[in-house]
């Protein structure tokens, strides 16, 4: 058999071997056995010495062709096998991606704090400062300085926990207004403040009453502040708390520290004004009290009420949370049942 024929035969045999190879390792062995220094092609070419010189280039060319083809087939098969091997590996590594992830324990902000912080942030953005006062106050700042002298009938509106005849648990956050007003330097700009905090009333705890609850009050005092400014501010607040599409309605009311005084209703966020059990069929829900700061309050703090005036408003985060989330018992806020607290994971 001539060398050419031998080469053709080897190629055919190698291709058969490659076909039956099923691992990268087999391919490597096949490559060595045919193309290696001691491989079959090399050993066939040893017969070149017996070939006539004019035939040598022909056989040499043929040998190169066989090598190239063999290399190509090997490479191709190797790539295929590698791909298969990767495929097998990936398959063997496959996990159930629907299994639960590792536990991460994260606490959540108390729902009342969430409500207060939202309001704080709204007013911080409008240049208000946050001022927190004492929870234990003097009768003088809690009542007299907000225009509620001794024996004023409106004192009945607030049952009070007294510690001594002159010291009490504050019944509202209003004493901060008086304390801030008397220290404010109006030459340095207007007073714009918001004061969140705990307040206390002499009440028996039940589903709708709590001896401890929260309040946020706001106040702006400057020259040329109008009731229209109050209305615009309250609209902003109502939309922030209950949604852009809400409207507000003002009704006259009475607070000793403001005049005119207003009670603010927001259009019912549940029924949109049609009437439902949340709004007691009126389409409106009472959410806060407000008014133009009473001149007596300003004067008692040494502020000239003929020059300066402004507004104040106050609302109860507990009530807002109850309305907004349909919480049916105010005591939930202070029992700290995790099944309750964890329902209010903070959004955004």
């Amino acid at each position: 058999m001539g060398i050419e024929e031998q080469l053709t035969g080897v190629l055919a045999k190698a291709v058969t071997d490659i076909d039956s190879a099923d691992s990268v390792k087999d391919i490597e062995a096949i490559r060595v056995s045919y193309l290696g220094k001691k491989g079959e092609i090399t050993s066939i070419l040893k017969g070149m010495k017996d070939v006539s010189p004019d035939q040598r280039p022909v056989i040499g060319k043929k040998a190169n062709e066989v090598r190239d083809e063999l290399t190509a087939v090997l490479t191709h098969k190797k790539e295929r096998l590698e791909k298969e091997a990767l495929q097998n590996q990936l398959e063997s590594e496959t996990i159930d991606v629907t299994l639960p992830g590792r536990q991460v324990k994260k606490g959540q902000t108390h729902v009342l704090t969430q409500i207060m912080e939202d309001i704080e942030d709204l007013f911080l953005g409008m240049g208000y400062q946050i001022i927190e006062g004492n929870e234990v106050e003097s009768d003088y700042y809690n009542f007299e300085r907000v225009n509620l002298p001794q024996n004023h009938p409106a004192r009945d509106m607030q049952d009070t926990f007294y510690i001594t005849p002159d010291v009490l648990m504050r019944t509202h956050t209003s004493p901060i207004q008086a304390r801030t007003l008397e220290n404010h330097d109006f030459s340095k700009g207007p007073l714009k403040m918001i004061s969140p905090g705990k307040v206390y009333r002499r009440d028996t705890d039940d589903a709708t009453h709590s001896h401890q609850f929260h309040q946020i009050e706001g106040m702006v005092i400057d020259e040329n502040i109008t009731m229209a400014d109050l209305k615009g501010t309250l609209e902003l607040l109502a939309k922030k708390m209950f949604g852009e599409e809400r409207e507000i309605r003002l009704r006259p009311s009475y607070f000793p520290f403001t005049e005119p005084s207003v009670e603010v209703d927001v259009s019912c966020f549940k029924c949109g004004g049609e009437g439902c059990n949340v709004c007691k069929k009126t389409g409106w829900i009472e959410i806060l009290g407000a008014g133009m700061t009473h001149p007596n309050v300003l004067e008692m703090s040494g502020v000239d009420s003929s020059k300066y005036g402004g507004f104040a408003f106050g609302l109860g985060p507990d009530r807002i949370a109850m309305l907004k989330y349909g919480v049916d018992d105010i005591r939930h806020f202070y029992l700290n049942d995790q099944r309750f607290l964890t329902q209010f994971k903070r959004k955004g």
Partner: protein, 804 residues
């Protein structure tokens, strides 16, 4: 105040406005409406019946079989259980098909085999409360007047074809605690002037009041106006239906014609009156004075009251006969036998009445009106009207003249404002004409000059005395909802959180990211809990008059409350609880308000990591909680000044597993495991707590960080393991190593702690990695070796370490 629409219609023309529309307008202009009720909408097919016969049913001890004429062709048979049913009465009959309150439907029925074609009604069945029904109808049917027309709608007779507007009157609008006050208010809204029917008083000219009473007042400040009339020759009977129903609808029980008139006049004018049985006074003298300290008075309700000099009393010259403005005396009240009535109409000092009513717990319709103020202009009108009515209902005569002591006249106050002030305060654009019209609608005289609006306020609106009051009147009548919406356009200052506020918010976020949820507990608690978990020796702050033992003292730590919360959760099968709270604790201070200190505290119980398909449970331990505290302090930049000192001082905590936390030597708080005894009592295993005073960090911003460049050269490390006495604290070892570690020592990490096999009893093995770094050059081996050697030596010398 419950306002009858029909009664209001007597002084105003309400034909153009429905009860609900009127209520809506009242709400939006001034007085909150709590609700509107229209009882007739619930009731139907209820007619006037005439009882022809009434006979006791044969086999019943209380049922009667009646035959009642109801305006149909034939009289009907009705079984009636009321004991007071009698032949000849005009009664209220609910026919088959009728609807009563609460949706009750009347059907033709059989009782003990006897057919009943409807029901004879009591007032309760028509929706009246027990407390307003006349005593004689309390246990039975209501009897209509004899002239009631058979078969007609019975609701008209008892005033149920009416609407009732419930007003929630704020203390400043006590003028609306009367029908006349409400009429003025509604008149302003509807642009009508209310018209009141005059009083037709005829006096007996032959008899003068001076022959009956001689009135004197000890102190005119206590009692600026005292007036009295006498009505004689009376026969005291029940009131007529028109009067009874007015009272019942207003929530007042009819008693007799005299008392009923005083109540009716109070509702009409807002002026409380009191009627004495003149003969029972036993004296001509009426002296109003403060009570003496040992005096007593048996009031109408039969209770003997001990009086003090804070009480104002009406006396017969010698003894008290009434508590002024609050309640009459039992011995002088009007009875069926009364022939002559002495009728009082007065103004008493409001805070005096308030104190008396409060201290004796005797709040009433009268006392609350005295407390909130009265229209001084109608004291006499109310008295005259009442006297005329009592005389006419009791067939008596009014003695001529009024006995009186008057030291105060009604005042028409003038208050001024300007158009600029009005528009400048309200943000409106009102014209002078519009403002004038608003005051006219309110019935206030006003005069306008170039720069002033001068308003004369009648005495019926005693709440108005300053300019701000006028602004409010203009705003509400104009309509709050017509005021534009703007925002304050004062110079803008950026709003910013203070350092303390930022730190508080940061702390909250930090604790939440460590897995603790925010709790808010009660600041008022029991005395025992208030003092728990606190090293504060000072006395607790107690409420003077607590509502309950549960909430009587102000807390000195947050942990008591948090522990209650945790226990609450665990008792409800939530076994793994992690809560924190940021709040105030309270410390008594001499001659000052209590000191309020902001603390942060946390409680963790149960597991840190739960058993799951890939993890095994890890339980809460001291070090888990300490890690949180350390990281928090580190983030605050204060960890370097912190030390943890073993402490056995708090009885609530495990004496071997508690550390006091010191910052620069100052006590700021505690970390510890709950004492096993307490843990057992409260069913709280594996519970670790911490509480820290935040004030030192809130007060001052700590030094701001400065950037350290990322190391360019590699560091190196050395491990050391040694055995020491088990009483040697980690912190002591750290102190030694840090002190002698040399300038390249960057950090020390404990990587092993071992006690047990192969270690002598009473000893422990510790192993640390010391990391060295020179930021400016590659460290030389020999430098590190010599520094490390110094550490070894120091450990041997100072904590008797046996280096391994």
């Amino acid at each position: 105040m419950k306002v009858s629409y029909n009664w209001l219609n007597e002084s105003l023309d309400l034909s153009g406005v429905s009860p609900r529309d009127l209520a809506e307008q009242i709400t939006l202009t001034g007085i909150e409406v709590d609700g509107v009720s229209e009882p007739a909408k619930e009731l139907k097919n209820i007619v006037v019946g005439h009882v022809l016969t009434a006979e006791r049913m044969a086999d019943s001890d209380h049922l009667n079989v009646t035959v009642v004429e109801v305006g149909q062709e034939e009289p009907v048979q009705i079984v009636c259980g009321a004991p007071n049913v009698k032949a000849g009465q005009k009664v209220v009959v609910a026919l088959p098909g009728a609807r009563l309150v609460n949706g009750l439907k009347i059907k033709k029925s059989k009782l003990r085999g006897v057919v009943s074609n409807g029901m004879i009604c009591s007032l309760e069945e028509l929706g009246f409360s027990d407390s307003v029904v006349p005593k004689n109808s309390e246990d039975g049917i209501y009897v209509l007047p004899e002239d009631a027309h058979i078969g007609e709608d019975a609701l008209t007779y008892i005033g149920l074809n009416d609407a009732f507007i419930e007003l929630d009157i704020t203390p400043n609008r006590a003028d609306a605690l009367s029908m006349r006050g409400v009429a003025y208010e509604a008149g302003a809204i509807l642009e009508q002037t209310p018209k009141f029917t005059g009083v037709n008083l005829s006096e007996d000219p032959t008899d003068s009041v001076d022959d009956y009473v001689n009135v004197s007042v000890e102190n005119s400040e206590d009692n600026p106006i005292y007036k009295m009339r006498v009505i004689k020759d009376l026969v005291v009977t029940e009131s007529p239906l028109w009067l009874q129903r007015k009272l019942m609808h207003a929530g007042i029980r009819p008693i007799d014609a005299v008392v009923d008139v005083t109540n009716y006049i109070m509702l009409e004018y807002g002026q409380p009156l009191h009627a004495f049985d003149y003969d029972a006074l036993n004296s001509k003298d009426i002296l109003v004075r403060r009570a003496k300290d040992s005096e007593t008075l048996i009031t109408l309700d039969g209770v003997e009251r001990k009086l003090t000099a804070d009480n104002l009393v009406i006396t017969n010259g010698a003894d008290p006969v009434a508590l002024a403005g609050v309640m009459g005396g039992e011995n002088t009240h009007v009875t069926g036998e009364t022939k002559t009535v002495a009728l009082e109409s007065a103004v008493f000092e409001s805070s005096l009445i308030r104190k008396t009513a409060q201290s004796l717990n005797l709040r009433s319709e009268s006392s609350s009106r005295f407390e909130k103020g009265l229209n001084k202009e109608t004291v006499q009108d109310a008295l005259d009207h009442a006297a005329a009515l009592i005389a006419s209902l009791g067939n008596g005569q009014v003695v001529s003249g009024t006995a009186e002591v008057v030291s105060e006249e009604p005042v028409y106050q003038t208050v001024t404002t300007t158009l600029n002030k009005i528009n400048g305060s309200l943000g409106t654009d009102l014209t002078i004409d519009e403002v004038e019209k608003i005051f006219s609608r309110l019935g206030f005289e006003n005069s306008v000059t170039v720069d002033e609006i001068s308003v004369t306020v009648p005495p019926r609106r005693w709440d108005i005395s300053i300019e701000a009051d006028l602004l409010e009147e203009v705003a509400r009548i104009y309509g709050y909802n017509q005021i534009p919406s703007t925002l304050p356009h004062s110079e803008s200052v950026p709003g910013e959180l203070t350092h303390a506020q930022k730190l508080t918010r940061f702390t909250r976020h930090f604790m939440e990211s460590c897995g603790l949820g925010q709790a808010i507990s009660y600041a008022l608690t029991t005395s025992e809990k208030a003092a728990a978990f606190s090293l504060d020796e000072s006395e607790l702050v107690h409420l003077d008059w607590p509502m309950s033992e549960e909430h009587k003292a102000l807390r000195q730590s947050l942990l008591s409350g948090l522990l209650d919360n945790v226990q609450y959760n665990v008792a409800r099968q939530t076994k793994n609880v992690a809560l924190f709270e940021i709040g105030r604790i309270f410390t008594r201070q001499e001659n000052d308000l209590p000191k309020e200190t902001t603390h942060v505290a946390g409680v963790m119980t149960g597991t840190l990591v739960d058993n799951s398909w890939q993890e095994t449970e890890t339980r809460v331990d001291y070090f888990a909680v300490k890690g949180i505290v350390e990281e928090w302090l580190d983030t605050l930049g204060v960890l370097e000044g912190i030390s943890f000192v073993p402490s056995k001082e708090l009885p609530e905590l495990h004496p071997g597993r508690t550390a006091k936390v010191l910052w620069n030597g100052q006590y700021i708080g505690v970390i510890g495991q709950l004492h096993p005894q307490l843990a057992q009592d409260r069913d709280l295993n594996d519970t670790v707590v911490f509480e820290l005073n935040m004030e030192p960090f809130l007060a001052n911003e700590q030094d701001t960080l400065s950037f350290e460049s990322i190391p360019k050269y590699p560091g190196t490390s050395r491990d050391i393991a040694f055995v020491v006495d088990e009483s040697v604290l980690h912190e002591e070892v750290m102190d030694v190593m840090t002190e002698v570690g040399g300038k390249w020592l960057r950090s020390i990490r404990l990587f092993d702690l071992y006690q047990g096999d192969n270690i002598e009893a009473g000893k422990k093995s510790l192993a640390y990695t010391l990391s060295y770094l020179n930021p400016d050059a590659t460290l030389k081996e020999e430098e590190v070796n010599s520094d490390f050697e110094k550490v070894k030596q120091a450990l041997v010398e100072r904590v008797q370490a046996d280096i391994r």
